[in-house]
Amino acid sequence: MNQLFIKLEWKQMLRSRWMQLVGVLFILVFAAIALIQQLALPVDGFTRQTASFLNLLLFLLPLFILTIGSMSVASDVESGWYSLLKTYPLSLGSYIFGKYISIVLSFFLILILSFAVVLIMSGIAGSVQLPLVFVTLSILLVLIFAAIAVLCGVIAKNRLHALSLSLVVWAAALLLISYLLMAIGTFVSGKLTLTLTIIMMHLNPAEWIRFGYFLFSGQTTALGPAFFDFTEFYNSVFGYLIYMVVCVAWILGPLLFAQWILSRKGKAE
């Protein structure tokens, strides 16, 4: 039943016109940025080119995953599809897991298409690069934000609510929390700003992925000497383990929370 549900959900996701448009848009933008940024100048280390590439992933992927994923879940409730599914022998956990896997697989397909285009361009131009760290972080981004998208969809009352909720989460993760901390930093001590920034890194999945780029590409020095002790810790085997644990927590946490909310909603009905 679970496999059948995943297959069905995946089919529906890929059939969606919105998903197809997002796929085309992402591939075009990803390929264009890769070509323009990396053909222009020799690239080594953390430069404006690599930063642009990273920012493109951080800006677009979470936005698309959150909106499409959350609306997919919210539409199930809104259209009555979820009520129908409840009449089948499908557990809550299986439903959540099925939705999550279908979102993840759909976006993996878009990523593979994007990477394929970049590889073709690399072959033609002879210089465009697709570093392994970007590929890994893209996969992590999909895994984490798909879980958050499911949670947003479960919380939302309808599709419009899901869309607005996703946009709020996206804006907060990518922009608002950073601005808030920068503003706080103007009137508190440097030490406190540093501590708050480190806490924020763990609590904000977008920043956690961004930190992952610095960590796994060997560019932690780009963060400046203020973060020396922090990056020294994460540059150890234990640090890598903690990094993975936090990633897993960011995947399982939202999914379990979504399941709990759905079960509460079920009881309330």
Binding site: W10, F46, R48, L119, S178, M182, T221, L223, G224, A226
Partner: protein, 425 residues
Amino acid sequence: MKWRFLLVFFISLIGFSAQAHAESLQKQIDKTPSGGTLKLFDRVYREQATVRKPITIVGGEKTLLKAGYDKTVLTIENTKDVTLKNLNFSRSQSAIDVKKSSQIHIENLKMVYMFSGVNIRNSSDVHVKNFKMRGIDGQYADKGTGIAAYDSKRINISDSDITEVLDAYYLERVTGSRIINNIATFSRYGLHYMYGKDIYATGNTLENNVTGIMLMIAKNALLEKNKIQYQSDWNSSGFTLYNAENIVTKNNELIGNRTAISSQNMKKSTILDNTFLTNQTAVEFTGSYKENKVEHNDFLGNIVNIRSDGTASNIVGNYYDDYSGFDVEDDGIGDSKYVALQSFGQWMVREPAYQYYIESPSVVLLNQMDQQTNKTETSQLVDEKPRMKSITEFETDRPMKMWLIILGGILFIGSLYGWRRSVKI
């Protein structure tokens, strides 16, 4: 009878040559007359020696000198016109100490596992050429300098290659130094000047050091045509120019450094015709003065082009790859000014913790807003005449890679086919 004579002759020949071969370095030096040349044997000399007269010492292909980890091998003292050539050193505190001497020529020296190489004190007209050194393993604090000069005049170092030391080339209270075509890698400072005057450094390649050129409390320097790249560690910089006056940095290539030029309390200085390529921060001013000029440089792919702590400097005629103005008059100069001032750049100078946000999505957006709001800025980090064309050209010889095209093609077609099949009912 004949065979007896031959036997005696042969034994005496071996005996005499063995005696000469076993002679100490100091004895050989003492025996060499002033102005004479001493050719060393192809053997290992395990001792210290002092040169106090004008002689030339030439090593053989396998001549190796070592004195132990706490000793200096050769000391040149109170003399002039000494030349050292083709010598190899290893496992000693220092290879050569030059004290109160002049007209010293040191050429073709190689050394490995040395604490330090050549130390020059109170001397003048010292020429070091083709000097190669690899320092000892360990922390910078446990290492010595490659070539160091103190309280001296007219020091010339050229075509040398030093790696894994504290400071590759260190000059303290030296007047009139010429550092030409040298390499320094994996050291704390590539080229370190303290209290120097009349400095000239050109054609040097300084790579992967903590700081490429550290110039402190110095006057009258021309640093030109150097390649300064990948100084990208914590607190790293290509040039750190601290409390310096009348410094010209010209035609240098600064690539991939944490900060390409960090100027601290610099006066009457010019940054001219340099290429700043993919650095995190290209030029950083703290405690700057209006008479400092940043002129006719190329800023390409840097995260922050110019930042300051709010102090003034004169910026004119540079090329910026993120300049968005037009040149309707077609005179090669942009019609609107370029404002390098970024709120985030200023914050980063003042509070190090902000560096975490460097080029993050939030900061990129902030910089975009800055570009709109800063158009009214007239004094700080403003270039009234930004150039429209770069002076730098890149080689574009990039052969096609068929295997990547095939791999990408298979992935693309496979994924599209998978997508189409999946949506079929």
